[in-house]
Every structure is written in structure tokens, then in C-alpha cells.
């Protein structure tokens, strides 16, 4: 059975050095200018961990920012010298000769604020108390992330990205870039996105949050001090998430009603293959991801709603967009359905924006954006070919 990749499970394939960016090394950028957050809180001091691939050209016009979604990180492509099995989460998209070709573009992946992969987040020390932030780490938003990314771009001397790109929550950042910093990007690539979460989406997130918060090991988010971690809650949260990333058909074809032992055991052991899959995903996730980060990222998703500040009008919210926008959806994605992408397209059309929209008939549900469907990848490659022609001197 083909390995199912979850939202952001790292690929387990071997690293082909002809199409891989090869060994990569994360870097850290420190910031001391206070960052005002949408919640009203201010981060006075923070760090962002990032990786880069390819070479920034002389006029600094070939940079592409890749934004991550729920539980991924700055490790977008390539692998680590001391951990060659740890391949970047979008390695099938980014590398020499790949749709986002690192022979042409300078690609940046950054771990967002509040994350648990090295950037300042709940696991970091709060300079005011000398203790880990834990549950006191502020609730952040897509806009806050984008503001922090813009400061990283400043630091790297990039005034204008050739493109900002992302899938799912990453696509929300890509869209927010086009709204918030229209002069700072030529193109925005928005894959498997929604202009806001539906009530159903928020409901799933709330189940995930409640699983974590009601875990006795949660301790109001200050579990680090108690040398504990709400792993049971995080496990359930992840299981709920995984259900939403796959289409019903995909789940049926991969697992169906298959029983591990071939017959019912009339017990509560893992009997059905789907149970086994979900428990495996939950366990793996709970062992490397931070519960406080997960809580915050689900909130980032819930709060994203550019139309909210414009009386509910997405068209008004998207008025500032000057970038070319590529919107891609997947027919079987029920978490962020094509209909939601069409809302974005409609609002861009209202503004006569330079929008291209493709609806990929892929069977894999929301996860399709991480897979290498040839129609999808050819389209992204063709779009980047266009971007490349535009920025070529």
C-alpha cells in the first residue's frame, strides 16, 4: 500500500540527488523590534528559524517564500546531513528541475511564530519571566505570521518576492501577503485554500482543542514546568484532523472495512485498519509536536477571515491585490472544497485581478496538495515558467 502522507508527514522516499536540493542547514534570525500582534499583545524579542535553497540573483528578484500549514516547518525541501531520512515536507515540489525549480529561484521556508520547530513559541523562554512561555504565549494570526515573515525578508534584503506560495493554511498566508504587502510580491500561489473556515471546520478544530485542554496533563498549558505533556489529547486532536484530510473515497480505497486479524475480535483493541492508521498518526504526532503550538495554530485557522474587517465583503478585502494569483483546488477536498476557492476567485474577478484558477480532479482530498499529481505539478511548473520569464532581465 502506498504510504499515506498526512498533512505534513515528512516523505520517506530516498533522496535523489539529481532532483533534491541536497543537504540543507536551518538558520536563525533574531529580531528585537517589537512586533505588534493582532490580539493587541506585543512580542518584544523573537527568533525565526528558516532554510533557503537555490541562489538569490544579483537584483534579488528571484526569491520565493513558501509558507507552511498546520504542523510543518521551515524544512520544506532537501534533507539533513545527520538525518538523511528527514526529507522536507514539500520536496516533491521544490528542487532542481522540479515545479519550483531551485536552479532558477531562491526559495525560503520559515517556521512561523508560535511554532515548535525552533522559532519563538510556547516552548521558548519568556524573557519577562525566565520560564517557558507555555500557555502564556500569545494567540497569533495569519497576519502576524505574514508581518514576521516580512521582517525576515527585510533582513535577507528581499524587497519583493517573485512569488509567495502555500497550501491550506500556507495558502492563507500567501493570500494575506497579497492583501497586506501588495507591493512586495509579484505572484501569490494559493493552493487548497479557503477565504475563511466554515462552521464545520471550526467545529473540528474545537474538538481537537478540547481533547488537548481537557487532558489532565495540560495544566493550563504550563505542562513543561510540571514535566508533563498532554499527549493523549494531542493524539486525539491529530486523529480528528487526519479524518478531515482524506476524502471518503480515499479512506475507503486505502482501508475500507479491512480488519487487521481478518475477523472481529469483539474488543476495543485496534481492529480495523483505519483505527490502526489513525492511532499510528496520532502517536507519532504526539511525540514530536507541541500541544500549545497545535492549539494556537488551530486558532490561527479559525480567525483567518480577511472579509471580516470589510463588512463581510471578500471583494473589498481583496481590493489591494496587485499580484498575479494562481488559485488551485482539488475536487475531492471536502475540508477546503473547490467552492471555497471559487469564492476567492470570484472576489479577485470582481477586482479584475490577474487570476488563474485550476480545479484538479484528484481523489486524495485535502492532502492532494502535498502529492505529486502530474496535472497539478505541470500546472505549477508552467506558472513558475511564466514567473521566471517575467523576472528574467
Amino acid at each position: 500500500m502506498r504510504e499515506l502522507r498526512g498533512f505534513f508527514m515528512a516523505a520517506t522516499k530516498t533522496n535523489d540527488l539529481t532532483t533534491s536540493v541536497g543537504i540543507v542547514t536551518p538558520q536563525t534570525a533574531g529580531f528585537t523590534a517589537p512586533l505588534p500582534l493582532r490580539s493587541g499583545a506585543v512580542l518584544h524579542d523573537y527568533e525565526l528559524v528558516y532554510e533557503t535553497y537555490g541562489t538569490l540573483n544579483a537584483d534579488r528578484s528571484n526569491a520565493v517564500l513558501v509558507c507552511h500549514a498546520l504542523n510543518a516547518s521551515h524544512h520544506v525541501a532537501g534533507f539533513y546531513a545527520d538525518d538523511p531520512g528527514n526529507t522536507g515536507w514539500w520536496d516533491n515540489m521544490i528542487g532542481p528541475g522540479k515545479p519550483l525549480d531551485t536552479n532558477r529561484f531562491f526559495v525560503i521556508g520559515v517556521n512561523n511564530l508560535g511554532g515548535c520547530h525552533g522559532s519563538t513559541g510556547p516552548l521558548s523562554i519568556n524573557p519577562d519571566t525566565g520560564k517557558p512561555w507555555g500557555g502564556d504565549f500569545p494567540v497569533v494570526t495569519v497576519e502576524d505570521w505574514v508581518d514576521a515573515q516580512a521582517r525576515l525578508a527585510d533582513k535577507l534584503g528581499i524587497t519583493r518576492f517573485a512569488a509567495v506560495m502555500g497550501g491550506s493554511l500556507g495558502a492563507m498566508q500567501s493570500l494575506a501577503w497579497a492583501i497586506r504587502y501588495p507591493q512586495r510580491l509579484c505572484h501569490s500561489i494559493v493552493i487548497a485554500c479557503a477565504p475563511s473556515l466554515s462552521a464545520q471546520n471550526i467545529a473540528f478544530n474545537e474538538v481537537a482543542r478540547q481533547a488537548i485542554i481537557t487532558d489532565p496533563d495540560f495544566h493550563d498549558g504550563n505542562y513543561q514546568e510540571q514535566h508533563a505533556a498532554p499527549k493523549r489529547g494531542l493524539r486525539v486532536a491529530r486523529m480528528v484532523g487526519h479524518i478531515t484530510y482524506l476524502s471518503d473515497d480515499e479512506m475507503a480505497s486505502k482501508f475500507g472495512r479491512q480488519l487487521k486479524q481478518g475477523k472481529p475480535g469483539y474488543s476495543f483493541d485496534t481492529e480495523f485498519e483505519i483505527e490502526s492508521y489513525l492511532r499510528h498518526q496520532g502517536n507519532k504526532f504526539a511525540n514530536y509536536f507541541d500541544a500549545n503550538t497545535y492549539l494556537r495554530i488551530t486558532k490561527v485557522l479559525d480567525y483567518f477571515d480577511p472579509a471580516f474587517d470589510h463588512g463581510g465583503s471578500l471583494s473589498t478585502a481583496l481590493q489591494p491585490v496587485t499580484a498575479g494569483v494562481l488559485v488551485i483546488s482539488f475536487t475531492t477536498d471536502w475540508r477546503f472544497s473547490p467552492e471555497r476557492s471559487r469564492e476567492i476567485v470570484r472576489a479577485l474577478l470582481d477586482n479584475r485581478a490577474q487570476v488563474t484558477y485550476a480545479e484538479i480532479d484528484a481523489p486524495h482530498g485535502h492532502d492532494a496538495f502535498l502529492l505529486d499529481d502530474p496535472r497539478y505539478h505541470k500546472l505549477v511548473a508552467a506558472y513558475f515558467e511564466r514567473v521566471h520569464r517575467e523576472i528574467a532581465p
Binding site: A358, I360, Y383
Partner: protein, 198 residues
């Protein structure tokens, strides 16, 4: 990439004659985007193509044309009322299932509509029918059993259709081998190009 000298598809120049420079154009069933590219180059238009086929969508991106992947049969819900100067339906009308609905949608979304279709009344088509066979030609390249053309019509049919629905025909060009036909267009014309308004 395909050559774009305007001679490649005879209806392109006929469509372009009515399109004002700098207009905002929607091309329905835009294929690989060559018409829009032609209009961008010759008339400096802005706008979008609408296309359902994956391969054509990819070609549009290659051709530098903004394309929206969508099924015309579902209507044009993505597009606001009167948001385009022209809505073009080039050699697609005869393949539409919901003919009247798409014409209404064209008039809702555009200030003017431009349609082109093969004239089924062309004498060579009539001749093939007289010989007892369904017409197959350069403009109608399909056999009866695999044709997407389910709503073929003649110049006279289309004009009757418009008259009965209060649709105002603003311009008509009928072509054969790329040349304008003025005499007996329903008999001597191979390809019809119409501009119409509400």
C-alpha cells in the same frame, strides 16, 4: 506554441474587428487561449478565458492567458453582472447543452456578446445531406457518432432564435475560406460571426 498571425483561425480577425482597444473580454470555452492572446496582442485587451479541459488550462498558462477552469454548462456564477465589455463564445455554441441559458448568461455578464459557429446551412453541408450523409468538413470535423456538436444551427436559425427572444443583433460577418460572404450568407457562408446585445 502556435503561430498567431490571425490567419490561423478565420473567425479571429472577424471577432477582433468589433473589439475596442483596451476592452475587458471574457472568452468562454477559450481552448488553449490563442484567441485571447491574439486579442491581447492586436487589441490590447485584458480579461480571462473559461475552459473545462485540464490540458487546455495548462496551455493557457503556457500562453500567458488568465484562465478560470469551469464548466460553462453550470453558468457563469463567478462573474458579476456587466463586468465585461465583450463575452466571446467562439465555435462552442453548437456544443452547449443549455444553449439559451449560456446566451442569457453572456448578456448578463457582458455589455455585448460575440458568438461564432459553423453554418449548418452552408451549401456543402446541404449537399452532403442530399447525398444522404451527415456533413463532415474542416469546420465540422466529427462523424455523427462522436461529435460534440449537439446543437448545430444555420444562420437563419440563429437569427430567428435571437428575434424571438428580443436579442438585438448588432453585427454579422459570414465567412467562407476566411473571406466575407455578402451574397446568400445562409447558403454560401461556412462560418458565422455575430455580435449581439440585450
Amino acid at each position: 506554441m502556435t503561430g498567431l498571425n490571425g490567419g490561423q483561425r478565420p473567425d479571429f480577425a472577424a471577432i477582433a474587428q468589433w473589439v475596442k482597444p483596451g476592452a475587458h473580454v471574457l472568452d468562454l470555452g477559450c481552448g488553449d487561449g490563442t484567441l485571447l492572446k491574439y486579442l491581447q496582442q492586436t487589441r490590447g485587451v485584458t480579461g480571462y478565458g473559461v475552459e473545462i479541459d485540464d490540458g487546455n488550462v495548462l496551455e493557457c498558462v503556457n500562453n500567458g492567458v488568465h484562465v478560470i477552469q469551469s464548466d460553462l454548462e453550470r453558468g457563469l456564477a463567478e462573474f458579476a453582472d456587466h463586468s465585461f465589455d465583450y463575452v466571446v463564445l467562439s465555435q462552442t455554441l453548437q456544443a452547449m447543452r443549455h444553449t439559451e441559458r449560456i446566451v442569457r448568461e453572456i448578456l448578463r455578464v457582458g455589455r455585448a456578446g460575440i458568438v461564432t459557429f459553423p453554418n449548418f446551412g452552408y451549401w456543402k453541408n446541404r449537399l452532403q445531406i442530399l447525398r444522404g450523409r451527415m456533413p463532415v468538413s474542416e469546420n465540422l470535423p466529427f462523424e455523427w457518432f462522436d461529435t460534440p456538436n449537439i446543437h448545430l444551427c444555420t444562420v437563419a436559425d440563429f437569427e430567428k432564435f435571437c428575434t424571438e427572444r428580443g436579442i438585438r443583433i448588432v453585427g454579422r460577418t459570414v465567412l467562407t475560406d476566411g473571406r466575407t460572404v455578402d451574397l446568400l450568407p445562409n447558403l454560401l457562408g461556412e462560418l458565422a460571426v455575430y455580435q449581439f446585445g440585450g
